[in-house]
Symmetry: C2
Subunit: 354 residues, 2 copies
Amino acid sequence: MKKNIAVILGDGIGPEVTQQSIKVLDAVAKKFNHEFHYRYCLMGADAIDKTGSPLPDETVTICLDSDAILFGAIGHPKYDNDPTAKVRPEQGLLKLRKSLQLFANIRPITTYASLHHLSPLKAKNLEGVDFVIYRELTGGIYFGKKELSDDKLQASDDCVYSASEIERIAHLAFQHAQKRRKKLTLVDKANVLETSRLWRRIVQEVAVQYSDVAVDYMFVDNASMQIIINPKQFDVILTENMFGDIISDEASVLSGSLGLAPSASVGSAVALFEPIHGSYPQAAGKDIANPVGSILSAAMMLDHFGLTEEAQLVRDAVNWTLQHGFVTKDIDAINSYSTTTIGDLVRDYTENKI
Amino acid sequence: MKKNIAVILGDGIGPEVTQQSIKVLDAVAKKFNHEFHYRYCLMGADAIDKTGSPLPDETVTICLDSDAILFGAIGHPKYDNDPTAKVRPEQGLLKLRKSLQLFANIRPITTYASLHHLSPLKAKNLEGVDFVIYRELTGGIYFGKKELSDDKLQASDDCVYSASEIERIAHLAFQHAQKRRKKLTLVDKANVLETSRLWRRIVQEVAVQYSDVAVDYMFVDNASMQIIINPKQFDVILTENMFGDIISDEASVLSGSLGLAPSASVGSAVALFEPIHGSYPQAAGKDIANPVGSILSAAMMLDHFGLTEEAQLVRDAVNWTLQHGFVTKDIDAINSYSTTTIGDLVRDYTENKI
Ligand SMILES: [Mg+2]
Ligand SMILES: [Mg+2]
């Protein structure tokens, strides 16, 4: 298989973690006889420094012309702390998401037996936890009409959803559930919200096409409890934008480290893969950042290409490093390894050298 | 002090848990020389069975004419499972909240060292956790205009807040913070929502009158993480209706049992005190329900009357029972005590008989 991958190293620790993913992808290509061509492009603070724009047109062109985008991280404190800054790094990512119409954010939640001690939850609540959250990314209250009255004493935000916005992400979530444990939970607030009742009706209609998937419905306030008290009940969670924002961040703490978590954002065209962690500028260039979030994002990209065996091998490689205590210092402050070493080990395992 | 208390025993386990609170309140009255007069009234399934209405007019009259309302629980499966039912028990509570204009829901989150083993969180994350959530209860997206397009393919929910709605609950929350550790955290999504920006501005304005209280601001997605990874950072949380619904339910699991948690709903007139648990009809009449949620709600009522010493004594009594293993079977299935026994012990401790 031949694939063009747009690579946006981005800011802070973005470049060093993404470089580990590239090593691993190269090992996959070699072993399985694929060709991955990387085309590097700019976004974020890095892009502002070099071009004046957080998202140069060339980046959008390259991304739209690629099979997938591998992205590191965005943001630099010199822009956060400068209220006079006219452009901000984060604008680049928002604009890219819009250009690519990325309507679904996908976050797998996995826990690792060897890291249970890092989680705020008790080990018994973590065993067997393995679910994926599909969050709608372009609709709902974050993008609805906002108003502030002339006297500035009343404000409003409108939450709007259309059937087609719900359908397209519902299909993705059901298809994923079919490849997993065949359970889909719609998280909503249908006892109160009209938009939630539309979500529920459309999901019920879409469900007819996926009769092998069991569907259940859970109110968001209950979901926020269930994610803590019984997270292993979930397989695929589907939800609207704001509920997804809240519960995916909540669920991300289960594994014990944000540095391990990957994500994908999928649209009608090309998809984007990125770790959920930020640019962590204090660690940039020190070869101490955790590359696992980026490497597992690359594994999601392989899955997206239909290369499931390859993706699983990369995940096995990551599991092997975690089980054997090969971790960066965010995981173990005393016995820690460098970013590069973890990347090398995952690559070597992928190449069957371990 | 002389107080008239409207008592709504309600449905399911409501009567038996509320009766324990009355015993404890009587002990407080005796010890501190107060007079509490109880006026019993009907609401919920019990009221439907006896009067045909989930909230008889007489109940509203008695409540409005009382100094506080002590309420048990509402709901019965015979109405839930009957789609033809024209009246539902829960309508009674919604209508009462509206009649009393209860605009603030207050939920203390406490953890107990002797119950750490019941919590989904590790003990080290639970130590020193003691915060209160102020949730706005009458505005926001739950009560905004709801629309479904004629073709039923688009739905919307409007989220609206006015400055005065924010001000009145902000004052309550700041006043409570002054009596506690003097920290208030506003949970919002001010980076995205216009209503959140209004909340932030009004809270900043109100804060000027409470210069001894430190204020910070947290986005709701971050708050949903922080409640799990570092809950002891919080003192008073103030938030809008839907965010409060989600995070107060999330936080309620920290203690390890919903049976322990009290709540208050405060308005411009009379306030209502109730445990957060439901009517649990399967346990009704068996003398096995946990009365602690109701007893601690009665303690909140004492605080509301300004009887802080009395309230603290009741809490001390509850702590004593929990520490000594006097618990109902939801807490310890093997060594458990009856609802009545726990009520007796809390009463006896309150009367200095223990
Ligand atoms: Mg978020
Ligand atoms: Mg709730």
